[in-house]
């Protein structure tokens, strides 16, 4: 009986890869044609990802190459974004810095989503004392304004990019735990879960087979909304000196260095800031569009900041 149920579940014929690819392309196309803002979001995110992947190849110069005969140069044909106080080419630095932000966001979100989702499912399924304990701890973390707690943790661990990433993951996971637990609580009373239980499905089976799949849409939406926020928070902490340290071309760190030259070199803070703002804007547009598109019922919930 159990084996049969399992066989039915696993027995779905695998779609041919080509069809899947075409379907994906059609989905993206439908998403883009839905709204001009969606198209803008997709375009920006695609560009940012390309730059993050191929940054070191695109950058015309070595981002850390000191050139003392070309310090604080205005933007020109040779240096599109100008140069800094030791003559490093800011365009190259901004291009190479893109990967740092994207990588940081990916690590922060993978850590917090994995941990938060696992705890959320555990809490929702187990109930009782375990649920109570997990939720109290979650409440505790949510009682702090996230950024302040992250700053305190990063400062405690000592300023570095990896500590900032860790601090932000510590701040982010409770939001996922709460979100997923709520979903699990409503899902576990639904007929198909009960049916699976009756068919002899164990807890692990139900969690991996049914719950994860059903929380996927809402998780995707939340995740896409949080990418922008993760990038923003990382760069803000770097700006405060708690994250990436010089000479790292992380955008927040470049802006910190440039802020002392605000009277003489306007380009130094301007271009990295534009890159940062446009990147975050792209992810936020994408997340916002996805939210409306995947689940119209979610319209009106909060984007950018986890609910």
């Amino acid at each position: 009986m159990i084996d049969q149920a399992a066989a039915v579940g696993r027995g779905r014929p695998a779609r041919p890869a080509k069809g899947r690819l075409r379907r994906a392309a059609q989905t993206v196309e439908a998403f883009i044609s839905e709204s001009r803002l969606n198209a803008l979001g997709v375009a920006i995110v695609a560009l940012v990802l390309l730059v993050a992947l191929f940054g070191p190849l695109i950058a015309p110069q070595n981002p850390n190459q000191i050139n003392l005969i070309a310090i604080l140069q205005h933007p020109s044909v040779h240096h599109w974004f100008g140069t800094d106080d030791v003559g490093r080419d800011l365009f190259s630095r901004v291009i190479v810095g893109c990967r740092i932000s994207i990588e940081a966001a990916i690590i922060i979100l993978s850590l917090s989503v994995t941990f938060g989702t696992a705890l959320g499912i555990l809490s929702g399924l187990a109930g009782g004392l375990a649920d109570e304990c997990i939720m109290r701890v979650t409440d505790l973390f949510l009682a702090f304004p996230g950024f302040i707690l992250a700053a305190a943790i990063a400062a405690t661990l000592g300023p570095s990019l990896s500590h900032t990433v860790l601090a932000l993951a510590v701040v982010f996971w409770p939001w996922y735990t709460r979100l997923i637990r709520g979903q699990v609580l409503s899902l576990r009373e639904r007929e198909f879960i009960l049916a699976s239980r009756l068919a002899g499905g164990g807890t692990m089976w139900i969690a991996s087979r049914h719950l994860i799949r059903n929380v996927m849409p809402i998780l995707t939406v939340q995740l896409s909304l949080d990418v922008g926020y993760a990038i923003l928070a990382t760069s803000s902490l770097s700006f405060l000196g708690l994250g990436a340290q010089p000479p790292s071309p992380e955008w927040g760190a470049i802006i910190t260095a440039g802020s002392s030259y605000i009277q003489t070199a306007w380009w130094w803070i301007t271009f990295p800031g534009i890159a940062l703002a446009v990147t975050i804007l792209g992810f936020n547009l994408l997340g916002d569009g996805l939210r409306d598109w995947i689940d119209p019922r979610l319209r009106g919930s909060l984007g950018g900041v986890p609910e």
Partner: protein
């Protein structure tokens, strides 16, 4: 609620005690001998086990005593009382500005849903949430101070100005109450740039919420009834649409506070604003843990209280919940 408040002290205390850097050394000064450092450490109980230090801290806390700041060499409570009004003034105006602008944009966008106005409104909202506050602050300094010389670079008043007598601690209010018009204009011109830098995020979050809820209430039957009765558009908007659309706006106040707390941190340090955010930041950098703990505690307590008030306000504003 009590558990959360206790947890907040617990977390901040243990975080602040693992801070690298020896506070006793900091307090004694760079020239102090190891013996003096040990003496200072003993004097402040820094050589005791952590649990004892925590117990002592909680006992002091119950008496409203937050300890001494090693950096300013004053009681942390005095420091916070000095710096908090500046932050309240800054954040209050930012909240007000962001809220009013968001209300206008969101209503216009909702009434012209799907048009260019709507797209522009949504785009500005997402932009408000996307532009990092620290960069916006620097950009505003660059344009309106360095290039145009319209506004001062930072601080609350011109360096030579004498502040108005202390009544509320809010310079704009105090100067008006005591009739110091010069101080008032001075304070306002110092407020403009940091308030704009902070308000952008508030605006972005609020436009999204209000736009959706205005669209929702425009579809409601009571709005159609009100229009059918022949009420003017303005009256329908004010009495029926906005009043209902305000509910979700209240619920995000807690989130707005979190956003403002983050913004205050970076914006205050850029504008040399003598507020709590700047104080906390300097305390963290100097591993001044009494001050770090006090500032974090005050911010977290305010956050908890605001969320509680929001819950209660919601109960009051929405009778359906009260009777359910």
């Amino acid at each position: 609620m009590v558990f959360v408040l206790w947890g907040v002290t617990f977390v901040t205390f243990f975080l602040s005690r693992v801070v690298p850097g020896d506070p006793a050394r900091l307090l004694a000064g760079p020239q102090a001998s190891p013996k003096e450092v040990a003496h200072i450490g003993h004097l402040y109980g820094l050589d005791q086990p952590l649990v004892v230090q925590y117990g002592r801290y909680m006992r002091d806390l119950a008496h409203g005593n937050l300890g001494y700041s090693f950096l300013t060499r004053r009681p942390v409570r005095t420091d916070i009382a000095t710096f908090l009004p500046a932050t309240i003034e800054l954040a209050g105006y930012a909240l007000l500005l962001g809220f009013v602008l968001a209300l206008i944009t969101a209503t216009a966008a909702a009434y012209r849903r799907g048009t260019r106005t709507d797209v522009a409104g949504r785009l500005t909202a997402i932009a408000g949430l996307s532009i990092p506050a620290f960069w916006l602050a620097l950009l505003l300094q660059l344009v309106f101070h360095t290039q145009l010389h319209w506004f001062p670079l930072g601080g609350r008043l011109d360096p030579g100005a004498t502040p108005p007598p202390h009544i509320t601690g809010l310079l704009t209010v105090d100067s008006l109450l005591t009739g110091h018009i010069g101080d008032f204009t001075d304070a306002v011109s110092h407020l403009v740039l940091p308030v704009i830098a902070l308000a952008a995020g508030v605006y972005g979050l609020m436009v999204r919420i209000v736009r959706t809820s205005v669209i929702d209430s425009l579809g409601e039957e009571y709005v159609r009834t009100a229009e059918a009765k022949g009420l003017s558009r303005w009256r329908v908007l004010r009495r029926h649409v906005l009043r209902n659309a305000m509910l979700p706006a209240v619920t995000v106040l807690g989130l707005e506070f979190g956003l403002l707390a983050a913004g205050v941190f970076v914006v205050e340090s850029i504008f040399q604003w003598p507020g709590l955010g700047n104080y906390a930041f300097q305390a963290i950098q100097a591993s001044d843990y009494n001050a770090t703990l006090g500032a974090t505690l005050v911010i977290a307590i305010l956050y908890v209280v605001i969320n509680l008030i929001v819950d209660i306000a919601y109960l009051y504003l929405d009778p359906r919940i009260r009777y359910a």
